[in-house]
């Protein structure tokens, strides 16, 4: 391939620099120089067949006729040098230690608020704050056992944390499946290069879940609690249950008696020790949250507070998964750990402040405006791409509910070569690594790289036309 003809759109590219594969890619760079576009297209076709045969799907809401879609996958991996990834892993681990301190503090003594580091009303007024969790002490002081943090790279090459998903982050199954597909289509590269394996994640997750069992010393019964087959992440719920060898349960399979959780089995009720819940807080327990929830289990919160069942992530952990609270994470790291953050935050402006809001609304075209409590890319306003009408609409929404909006500068998201209509073109990417926290910590080797398949688009969510790539942590020293 002649990379001098690869378009340079002025962004940082993960693979290409100055018309050639980056020197740090070493052996993979040589492969990229030698491979032909037809060879890549053949492999792309093979990958798509594999995705279909393996039944790797995701679900889009609102499409009643065909709920299942083949997972959109681009065959050319995104590559990160081992040395950079080691630094990033340490930064992510640091972040999650601080975030767990914070959640434990918020539901405990609330020192960070009384010390004036984080405004109290920002927390207690947050829709993600759960008064039902105040005073609970989960094992190891850990609330957010599973976190998916989104990383983006700006034009200067710096990796930033864009957000921390602490509620029910998804995508890890696709990280694992992408690797399986890539191994099928690039077998020779896995032989020749030192690509770090990713497949120990289910084992590590199972270890964290086991450590939450209230009956230590006995073999725990663990369930992945799913909203059911219609949920967009159902594929992942089933995948993880299967990989860990645990039960995939729905709310209707469970009941609580004397503050103990049971699952209905062919041999009568069987006690459940740990739930990896993939349903939102508000649907967990109709006795305490939404009374109309049919996804949850009446009495589950009482059982959890009584210490009779482990729940991951702990109810209430989402209080730190809020884009306004996010802006305080560097302060949390300094406050709880006395360290400087190893990975920077994206500078974030809180629209609840009058002066800040005026500044943002006067320069909307320079900002990304996001609702503080949404996920999945919903409600994100990108000023540079908005029409005058959309800007007015955004202004109205922010004015009506300023506390619920934050603004960030528009990052020049990095790109990675992606097969589009028979040629390679730069497309914007982000990266979602997964961080497990229990007694010990674990950070995935890389994570899920998501790619915006539309030219110029910054939206990488699969629910909104995004695709994905395998992510390689490469050690060029080993060849």
């Amino acid at each position: 391939m002649d990379w001098s003809r690869y378009p340079d759109a002025g962004f940082y590219d993960e693979i290409v620099s100055a018309g050639a594969p980056r020197p740090e890619l070493a052996g993979f760079g040589r492969f990229l120089s030698e491979v032909s576009i037809d060879d890549l297209l053949d492999r792309q076709e093979a990958a798509e067949l594999a995705v279909r045969a393996m039944g790797i799907t995701f679900t889009v809401y609102g499409e009643q006729a065909n709920i299942d879609r083949a997972w959109p996958f681009d065959v050319l991996p995104r590559v990160i040098a081992h040395e950079e990834w080691q630094r990033t892993q340490a930064g992510l681990a640091q972040r999650l230690v601080a975030l767990n301190h914070f959640i434990d503090d918020v539901y405990g003594e609330q020192k960070i608020m009384s010390d004036g580091v984080v405004p109290a009303d920002l927390i207690t007024g947050s829709p993600n704050f759960r008064p039902e969790c105040v005073g609970v002490s989960p094992p190891f002081g850990v609330w957010a056992h599973i976190c998916g943090s989104d990383l983006v790279r700006d034009s200067d090459g710096t990796l930033y944390v864009l957000e921390d998903n602490l509620r029910v982050p998804s995508g890890v199954s696709y990280m694992l499946e992408n690797r399986l597909v890539t191994k099928r289509v690039f077998p020779e590269l896995f032989r020749d290069l030192d690509i770090h394996p990713v497949d120990d994640y289910p084992t590590r997750l199972l270890e964290v879940l086991c450590s939450l069992s209230p009956r230590q010393g006995e073999r725990p019964t663990i369930g992945v609690l799913t909203p059911g087959v219609l949920n967009s992440a159902y594929f992942e719920h089933a995948f993880l249950a299967q990989q860990m060898g645990v039960e995939l349960v729905e709310g209707s399979d469970l009941f609580v008696e004397d503050d103990v959780v049971y699952v209905r089995t062919i041999d009568g009720p069987s006690r459940i020790d740990v739930l990896y819940r993939r349903i939102d807080d508000l649907f967990l327990d109709p006795d305490e949250f939404r009374p109309d929830s049919v996804l949850g289990v009446p009495g589950l919160m009482r059982a959890w507070r009584a210490g009779n069942v482990g729940i991951a992530n702990a109810p209430g952990a989402g209080v730190a998964d809020d884009k306004a609270v996010y802006s305080y994470v560097p302060a949390m790291i300094r406050y709880y750990l006395g360290e400087e953050p190893r990975i920077p935050n994206v500078p974030t402006l809180l629209c609840r402040d009058d002066t800040v809001r005026r500044h943002v609304l006067d320069r909307l075209e320079e900002h990304v405006v996001k609702p503080a409590n949404e996920s999945g890319g919903y409600g994100v306003f990108v000023g540079s791409q908005a029409s005058a009408l959309e800007r007015d609409e955004c202004r109205r929404r922010v004015e009506a509910d300023p506390t619920n909006y934050i603004a960030q500068p528009i990052l020049q998201l990095s790109t990675s070569p992606t097969l589009c209509g028979g040629t390679l073109e730069p497309r914007h990417v982000d990266l979602r690594p997964f961080i497990l926290t229990g007694e010990e910590q674990y950070v995935t080797q890389g994570g899920l790289t998501r790619v915006a398949l539309q030219a110029g688009s910054l939206v990488v969510n699969s629910s909104q036309g995004g695709g994905s790539k395998d992510t390689w942590i490469l050690d060029p020293a080993v060849e």
Partner: protein, 333 residues
Amino acid sequence: MNEPEETHKEPAVLLSRVAEAVYWTGRYLERAETTARIIKVHTELYLDLPKSAGIGWTPLLAVTGSEEAYGLAHDGADEDRVVSFLVSSDENPGSLLASLAAARENLRVTRAVFPRETWETLNALYVDAADTCAHAISRRTRLRWTDEVVAGCQRISGALAGTMSHDAAYSFLRLGSHLERADMTTRVLDVRAGMPDDGPAQQEQPYADLLWMSVLRSLGAQQMYRRSVQNRVWGADVLRFLLRDRTFPRSFLHCLDAMEHCLGFLPNAELARAACIAAAQHVEGSRTASLSWGGLHDYVDELQLDLVRINDSLRDTYFHREPGERLRALASA
């Protein structure tokens, strides 16, 4: 980190909902396989017999129990429409593709208990069959298509037998497939009962043995029948073989034996076992010789009722349990 202790006292739990979905996976997979077989055999029979025999395509609707659904959508049962209805029609909830789709959906909600390759194999089978289902319409490609579906279903059964622990979940799968298999055997016999019967003298129907032969072939039984009976094909022997042979895997009695065996791996199996034993006694005590020339239809109805009772006993014992009632049972145990 605390490692879970190695204990083998408690087997892995099997959720009632999962058990039910596994059971239906077994039923739907078997149904898809048998539907493919029946289409193939009827096509071959149709080509063998002279037009004057007048067998037409309605027996295919009868054997799959889809006359009513077909009648709502069509009048007149020509080959293309009947085959397309049985293979893929949206108007037929019992079509072969609908069975594969249902098996796939049930497997999807129970993936945690199945080996991963099963999901991939079934997924591929469904995708391929759906992509190529037009091949089932043309006579030139039909038999190859049905053969591929049968082979695909057997690949899954084989993979499961060889890679899945033969535990409670596997028992539910086998209960589902054997119940469906026994049901299909009775249906095939029922359709034969609806055709002109042999009569005591047997010579009256020129195609009688061809028709009985095709009954055997629908169930993949002709070769094993020959080995067992070594005689010209006639009704009474076929009936005895398909109902009471203990060794042929699609005979009614063999299916009951297999179900009883599966129940041995399950707790609280008394009710279901009693239903199996009752059905086995029913078929062991029957006089198959006289049935070949009259009364077969009513007799088959009775056997199908026996199967309904087995199905209901499984449902009542394993699939729908009230928590309160179960806790009491636990306390008294």
